[in-house]
Amino acid sequence: MSSDDLCYMSASEAIKQFRALSLSPVELLDAIIDRAESISDTINPFADCYFDEARHRAKKAETLYLQKKTNVRPLEGIPLVVKDICKISGKRTTEGSLVYAQSVSQQTSAHVQRLIDAGANTFARTTIPEFAWLFTTQSRMWGVTHNPWKIGISPGGSSGGSAAALSAGATTLATGSDSTGSIRQPASQCGIVGYQAPHGRIPNIGMSSFNGYSKPGPMTRTVADCALMTNVMSGPDYRDHNSLNKINQITLDDCDLSGIKIAFSLDLGCYEVSEDVVQETIGAIEALRCAGALVEEVPVIWAKDLIELALGAQEVLFSDYLSEVVNKHPDLVSDYVPQLLETANSYPIDTYYKSLATAGDVWRDHIGPIFHKYDAFITPTTTYTDIPATGWQKDTVTVNGKEFTDTETTMAVLWNMYNRCPVMAVPSGRATSGVPTGIQIIGRPHDDPTVFRIARAFEKERPWLDCAERRPNLAIKR
């Protein structure tokens, strides 16, 4: 088996091979670490690395498989990277900031604990922008993270390190978190899978538990791996007041989409979408039709003000935290952080309560009726791919001759406001620059299985990362 095959092997396949003893967790981890080391200088997806202890755990996992125990845990020996904002007890979590460079966590985030308890082997943390508040991944703490598909272009943010590591074959599984698109936009930029589960599906303990916008989630290369991770991560936790009751495990048996009705919008009526993203989205729509779904375009006239309110609500919630840190540590924060605060403070405070009332009205009048008629709704994830790796929140890119910030090219935040909708971001193709494009599959509130079913069928029709031609050319130093 070539090292590339190992590095891009899905977790589902690896587990099969571990069980059959045709592959050892040590072998897989070695290949992954080898890859991680060889791309670190150019792509820089990793924060702290725990290679030695991970090798030790892989050895133990190997023994368990060799003993042919029947009760081997579902992710035993699978290499995992954890975003540097999700906590691991006894390890530091910097949130991408020098302010927290020495901040060792006392507890492990609930979703990470479940992955660890399921046997996943955390060998590294992944980079984020400071306080996870950019759609690029760069900070004084961790430097600049690049897109494996094109150095100089951003892997997206804030879960940019996780997305870049996956698309470079430098991990098998990864975690992310998403409060305005931070899982889905990087997934789109790097051509991988990112999932935003309904609020409460995956427990969230402590400070962000009551912020409905903010959610941890899985990032993977395949839909099956995403289901595997989701099944491990989801379910109630008594420490999270908002966690939902357990649903049945997601299965991917049914990939036929006949009878499934899907609505789509290319631009939500208010985004400027670049021609290549439009073409790839239309290609994706055709693929879904080939898989048997009825797919229809729906007119959208209701999104513009709502998106502004959704972004504003998050900024208003964030402003207090941010101003405290900036005022205390002006010498430590990245040079773009004061600008983040300026943006956060630019929204009137009534944005927050307006957002609550408007969200309910628009759902009743427009979005609810769409989901009443259709099983799912599809839009592009971003309107444009070539965001510079060193981009700031206020920097602009040119789309169809007009200037936009990366916030204005990311079509994700609406579904943080409508946070009961499951949303999976999957690759739709490649832009003319070679950087991947993506779509979001948005399900009815709490209807995760349909989203997975559509995504799996889509993956079969329009596969990604499955062979050398559909992987980034990494020009790896040997």
Binding site: Y238, D320, Y353, D365, R420
Partner: protein, 482 residues
């Protein structure tokens, strides 16, 4: 059957009697309307009234029961009173304000719509204070609503009209809404049952559906009636994004509570409880213990700040409509409204942010572990019922030797912040002044059934209005009733 028996008849019993044709919906509706007319002048629980329409509807229901082939709704023919703040298509809901005197709604609240589709017979709307923003029930729009148990005392607020109507036998079932205690505190004041469901259990009007604090809920005189209404009102709704996915049914026959582990707290580590309210509470705890549950007092501390913020978050969210009222409608709003704005403005976005950040940590460290160990938590609803009918938000009430506002004696708002907890408010007994007092049965997130199990067992152990002697004395008002 005498009039009082009809007026206080549980909905479940009325339905059985309708089906056996030993009672007609017309007969029941007439008795209720008669009672409503008799008490309205003094107690004033009703806003708009639709008596003629309701009598016509009762006749239609009667025919349906007579032709048993007709499809019967599960609440067919039950007289229902709906709070004036909850929209119903084609009717006005003023939210207790002259500002909305001419407001005709285009849409119905979806939970109310379900009650109406199930055959409940809407005969009147019930009063609330302006914008539902008091724990008493008076406004320029509707005047003063009084407590059937004692006229100088408030029936509570904001669902005070519904609670008073039920306590006076002037409605069979009613609805309320609760963003800081507005179902539970009136239920306690009037000695009736009120249910604040978990956020998402019952669909909401769109402008409220994204605010976890605001829930709509049933009010009734028995636990079974409350369950009956809940089963109709609850369930996912395509036009409310925030509804919970599963349709939950509270079974007719609920398991007993033998062996159940229940935590209790007299004060949530924060409140000052009047001696007689404490006495009735502890007697209630004893009767649950006698019914077979294991009751344990849990020490709760560290809740004071999150209790403050649970009010503060709501006050912050109210800035918008209160500013509009004071700035643009000062000529029509009630005299206490400027004071409401003044209070609201004491809380800022920082308080809201802090409420979000702290809520998760307090749950993780304090309440989560309690609910991990126990099936439910029981605490009083209000610490003293002695709130005057015309009380304002800043007025003080004497509890033991402390001067406290009605907000400071109402123990409910914490479970609006912890919005997924189901909370059933039931009467716990009678104070030295002859007023009802109450307790809250707080369940694990989204565990409605346990709360109803405890409520049903408690009702058997310590019954309230089913017994004639546990009803308010209304003789003076009812001279023209018979």
């Amino acid at each position: 059957m005498n009039n009082d028996e009809l007026c206080y008849m549980p909905a479940t019993e009325a339905l059985t009697n309708f089906k056996s044709r030993s009672l007609s919906p017309v007969e029941l509706t007439q008795a209720i309307i008669h009672r409503a007319e008799a008490i309205q002048e003094i107690i004033n629980p009703f806003a708009d009234q639709y008596f003629d329409e309701a009598l016509d509807a009762a006749k239609v229901a009667e025919t349906k029961y007579q032709n048993s082939n007709d499809l019967l709704g599960c609440l067919e023919g039950l007289p229902l009173a709906v709070k004036d703040s909850t929209p119903i298509e084609g009717r006005r809901s003023t939210n207790g304000s002259l500002m909305n005197e001419a407001q005709i709604d285009q849409f119905s609240n979806p939970s109310i719509e379900r009650l109406l589709k199930s055959g409940a017979n809407l005969f009147a709307r019930t009063t609330c204070p302006e914008f539902c923003w008091l724990f008493s029930c008076h406004s320029r729009m509707w005047g003063i609503t009084r407590n059937p148990w004692r006229l100088d005392i408030t029936p509570g607020g904001s669902s005070g009209g519904s609670a008073a109507a039920l306590a006076a036998g002037a409605a069979t079932i009613a609805t309320g809404s609760d963003s800081a205690g507005s179902i539970r505190q009136p239920a306690s004041q009037c000695g009736v049952v009120g249910y604040k469901p978990p956020y998402g259990r019952m669909p909401l009007s769109p402008s409220n559906s994204f605010d976890p604090y605001v829930q709509i809920g049933p009010m009734a005189r028995t636990v079974a009636d409350t369950a009956l209404m809940s089963n109709v009102m609850s369930g996912p709704h395509p036009l409310d994004h925030t509804t919970l996915p599963e349709k939950l049914n509270i079974p007719d026959r609920l398991q007993g509570i033998t062996g159940m582990r229940i935590a209790f707290s007299t004060d949530l580590g924060h409140y000052e409880l009047a001696n007689d309210v404490e006495r009735e509470f502890l007697t209630s705890i004893q009767s649950l213990s006698n019914a077979g549950a294991k009751l344990e007092e849990v020490p709760l501390d560290g809740l004071s700040e999150i209790i403050r913020l649970s009010h503060g978050a709501q006050e912050f969210l109210a800035h918008g409509f209160l500013k509009d009222a004071v700035e643009n409608h000062s000529d029509v709003v009630s005299d206490y409204v400027p004071e409401l704005l003044e209070t609201a403005l004491k809380y800022s976005i920082e308080d809201y942010q802090r409420s979000i950040l702290l809520a998760g940590e307090i749950w993780q460290n304090h309440l989560g572990p309690v609910f991990q160990k126990y099936d439910a938590l029981i605490c009083p609803t209000v610490t003293s019922p002695m709130v005057p009918a015309e009380n304002w938000q800043t007025h003080k009430i004497l509890v033991n030797d402390r001067q406290l506002t009605d907000t400071e004696i109402t123990m409910t708002a914490l479970f609006n912040l912890y919005s997924r907890c189901p909370v059933l408010a039931v009467p716990s007994g009678t104070t030295n002044d002859g007023l009802p007092c109450g307790l809250q049965i707080v369940g694990r997130p989204c565990d409605d059934i346990t709360v109803f199990r405890i409520g049903a067992a408690f009702e058997i152990a310590r019954p309230w209005m089913q017994l004639a002697r546990n009803r308010p004395s209304l003789e003076l008002m009812l001279t023209k009733d018979n």
